[in-house]
């Protein structure tokens, strides 16, 4: 029994026990359901073994939506605790665990997979490619992310949740001050998903560089794909660094190294530096794709070319470079001196310039446009003023001397929610609604969509605006309660009411997906939005080979010009198409990765070594298999029949 004691939760509560039962029942229901409806084979053949970028993208988005729900539940718990002074719904330990989980899940397991989902589905279609450069690597990326996410999510019922914040600063995160295995979970789960992210970066960069349709030059790429290009460059620049930081942190905790200790030559501030050298570009890895999505949607529904294409690209490149040299603004107060603070302060404020250029370009695109207020467009329009508040408060925070007042207050919390939610969450929801017909062949209901939009857009401000005020008044973040004398009570209550409205907005969004799946018409044609880029030139949903013949591109608005000026996009004759085979190896390999990471967390070294060997065995197996795995071919007749069927039904 002693062996199993390590899996006990060190700080249990009724809610955790209830969750255990809930998780057990849900898992049981899934297993029983799959068996009863005989869906195991379907699940394995069509999804788990798939190497199709569209299906992998859909799985990413599905996982992201589930994680959004989890993060939302965490957020509601936090707001419930803070609603009134001296509240006792959560004690300090649970509050720590919940805000740590909220941060990690929302950034790493909600926003990142959402980004990869859209990236997977849209990028190859926008450049006229049949798949990504390395389809099987793509599957490995997804399953690594998925296993990392699952690992992180079981922490709170198996061994204890991480409790040192999403930044996991040392020495707080060290074995001494965070003795439960929670922070081990943090280190290992992020290591797994980070590895997947890095592979995605390599995969998509190669894809964008080498697999563009004939005639499509880099400076003609749709803005979303340009955003993906710079995002992936950023991923390749900083994710290896994060892997190193996580490895150091894990070694400090598991093997007694002295990287971030206080004595023996260790440097606790090194963690903060390494973390933010990755962490600051990371938020740009999230926001740059969002900028890309907004550029697509705004130009589509303003019915105008995107204003200032070249300056849009240049500003993204500028943001990419600047994002690498601003990390120390996250800890102005930690004593690196006036000179360093000044340099980082100026570098940070400089980011406002390229971002401002982008905002003005969007406004100029809207000017004289025939604006159509569809749901994706509403999300995009709401983004501009809301994000502006986030940006302006960001410039306030960038001033090093003033930051001593705001540092670690609710003002900061309000600021980054004002950038991340309108910047990233609105964008991904807008992108989801916009590309939904391309993925599934039907649209989401506009009416229900608008209800969810207005709920979120209004209650987002109700939730987060009061935090600017309480923050300036000195309410610290990450404090599990406050006394009545502070006077923070009323504004916090308003924020908590806002959180309920916000949650309601997301529930309506989920309901919209359910309702639309059941009732929305299926014959929508290939171009329901009257859009401009290549993905709208092929049937919805997209056939497995994407393009029956490769498009020939002459401008940055290839499809729009084809529609309006009568270019022939597809002059070639249909030929046989070569496709990669499905494979179960990526999934199996990532399950072994999961077991290995899990055993490291609980200090079960032999099992960890066995898992490592297992992973290498999978790689070796693939190495030999690849010599005679030549994929398969789709024949001309089959392609013509598919095209006839899909286009026939659509027209």
């Amino acid at each position: 029994m002693e062996f199993f004691e390590r899996f006990a939760v060190p700080h249990p509560s009724f809610a955790i026990y209830a969750s255990m039962v809930g998780i057990a029942l849900t898992s049981l229901a899934i297993v029983v359901g799959l068996t009863y409806f005989k869906k195991w084979g379907y699940l394995w053949r069509e999804w788990i073994t798939t190497v199709d970028h569209k299906r992998i993208g859909i799985m990413y988005i599905l996982a992201a939506l589930i994680m959004l729900l989890r993060g939302l539940v965490d957020a509601v718990m936090l707001r419930a605790q803070l609603a009134i002074p001296d509240n006792t719904i959560l004690d300090s330990q649970h509050y720590n665990e919940v805000f740590s989980a909220h941060g990690v899940i929302m950034i790493m397991f909600m926003a990142m997979p959402f980004l990869f989902g859209l990236m997977n589905i849209v990028t190859p279609l926008q450049i006229g490619a049949r798949d990504v450069a390395f389809p099987r690597l793509n599957a490995i990326s997804f399953w690594l992310f998925f296993m990392g996410a699952m690992l992180f999510n079981i922490a709170f019922v198996v061994g204890g949740a991480p409790d040192a914040g999403w930044t996991s600063y040392f020495p707080l995160a060290s074995e001494e001050f965070s003795p439960s295995v929670g922070t081990n979970y943090y280190m290992m789960s992020l290591q797994l998903s980070g590895l997947g992210t890095l592979m995605t970066g390599i995969n998509f960069l190669t894809t964008i560089f080498r697999m563009r349709a004939p005639g499509l030059k880099l400076m003609q790429l749709p803005m979303f794909t340009w955003a993906m290009l710079v995002t992936n460059v950023l991923i390749i620049a900083v994710f290896p660094l994060f892997a190193v930081a996580l490895a150091f942190g894990a070694m400090d905790r598991m093997f007694g190294t002295q990287f971030f200790t206080i004595g023996n030559g260790g440097m606790d501030m090194m963690w903060a530096n390494l973390f933010w050298v990755w962490g600051h570009p990371e938020v740009y890895i999230l926001i740059l794709p969002a900028f890309g999505i907004y550029s697509e949607i705004i130009s589509t529904f303003a019915r105008r070319n995107l204003y200032g294409y070249k300056s849009m690209v240049a500003s993204m490149v500028a943001i990419t470079i600047l994002s690498l040299v601003v990390w120390a603004h996250h800890f102005y107060t930690m004593g690196q001196g006036v000179l360093a603070n000044s340099i980082f302060s100026i570098a940070t404020m400089a980011i406002a310039v390229p971002t401002g250029i982008k905002i003005f370009n969007w406004l100029a695109t809207l000017r004289k446009g025939k604006i159509e207020f569809t749901t994706p467009m509403l999300w995009s329009l709401a983004f501009i003023p809301t994000f502006l508040i986030g940006g302006v408060t960001g410039v306030m925070l960038a001033m090093a001397s003033a930051d001593f007042q705001y540092h670690n207050t609710m003002f900061l919390v309000a600021h980054f929610h004002y950038t991340i939610i309108p910047g990233v969450v609105y964008a991904f929801i807008a992108g989801l609604i916009y590309w939904w017909p391309k993925m599934f062949g039907f649209m989401l209901n506009e009416k229900i969509g608008k209800v969810s939009f207005w709920l979120v857009a209004i209650f987002f401000n109700v939730t987060f605006f009061p935090m600017f005020i309480t923050g300036l008044d000195g309410q610290a973040r990450r404090m599990y309660t406050y006394s009545e004398e502070t006077g923070f009570g009323p504004l916090n209550l308003i924020a908590s009411i806002g959180a309920i409205g916000l949650a309601l907005g997301f529930i309506v969004l989920a309901y919209n997906i359910y309702w639309s799946t059941r009732y929305m018409p299926r014959n929508i044609g290939s171009d329901p939005w009257n859009a401009r880029s290549l993905e709208w030139s092929i049937p919805s949903p997209v056939p497995v080979y994407n393009f029956a013949t490769l498009p020939h591109v002459k401008s940055s608005q290839a499809f729009w010009d084809a529609k309006t000026k009568g270019h022939n996009l597809f002059p070639d004759k249909v030929e046989e198409i070569h496709m990669p085979n499905n494979s179960g190896v990526p999934f199996i390999m990532c399950v072994i990765f999961f077991i290995g990471a899990f055993s490291l967390i609980f200090d079960m070294i032999p099992l960890a070594i066995a898992s490592l060997i297992g992973v290498f065995a999978c790689m070796a197996y693939r190495s030999f298999e690849a010599n005679h795995d030549h994929g398969y071919h789709i024949h001309v007749k089959e392609i013509e029949e598919t095209e006839e069927r899909l286009r026939g039904a659509n027209k």
Partner: protein, 197 residues
């Protein structure tokens, strides 16, 4: 699969060209990884706590290692050259030689680690030694992985012959091996030589 015979075997198909570009991008990520290790190493110089510092370095094993690894970079170049000439036997010989030199490197490095630990310098002793072992260890782990990778390529080339597929693997492996050599030059200069000066 379209094969373009005007290009060397390893570049002859589109899939091969994609893999080579992808691997170059992977190497960029590897540079970021080692750059982080080096930056951390510089930050921890002198932070030895109660443990020993750079005085544990010895020149002989380091010189043997440098010689072994630099030579192996030369022999793998010869292997790729032999591959382009279509000389399978010479290619396998040079690949084998490369891996043998890799083994020499690993043997000497492991022995060096034992000496360090024997002198009371372990990965747990101080911040400086933690990063020293991590930097050397990460490079050593790369060489070990490379050894097995190379072994599989030797097996596959002898089993399937020189096909666009196996040639592509061998070429990519040579890129990896050269990269490890470059990293070693940095380790040799900035860890060992700088430490012993």
């Amino acid at each position: 699969m379209k094969i373009d015979n005007s290009l060397p075997l390893e570049y002859s198909t589109e899939e091969n060209r994609l893999k080579i570009l992808g691997f170059w991008i992977f190497l960029a990520a590897e540079i970021a990884l080692f750059a982080t290790l080096f930056a951390t190493y510089f930050a921890y110089q002198g932070r030895t706590g109660n443990g020993p510092g750079t005085e544990i370095f010895e020149i002989t094993p380091v010189l043997i290692n440098t010689f072994a690894l630099l030579t192996s970079s030369f022999t793998i170049g010869l292997a790729v050259n032999a591959m382009r000439l279509g000389n399978k036997k010479a290619m396998l010989t040079f690949l084998g030689l490369t891996l043998a030199l890799g083994l020499v490197f690993l043997g000497v490095e492991i022995k060096e680690f034992f000496t360090f630990v024997h002198e009371g310098a372990t990965i747990q002793t101080s911040g400086y030694l933690s990063i020293l072992f991590s930097t050397l260890g990460t490079h050593g782990a790369h060489v070990s992985l490379g050894f097995f990778w190379g072994l599989f390529i030797i097996i596959q080339v002898s089993k399937y012959g020189l096909t666009p597929h196996t040639a592509n693997k061998a070429f990519i492996f040579s890129l990896y091996w050269h990269f490890l050599d470059v990293v070693w030059i940095f380790i040799f200069s900035f860890v060992y030589l700088k430490g012993m000066m």
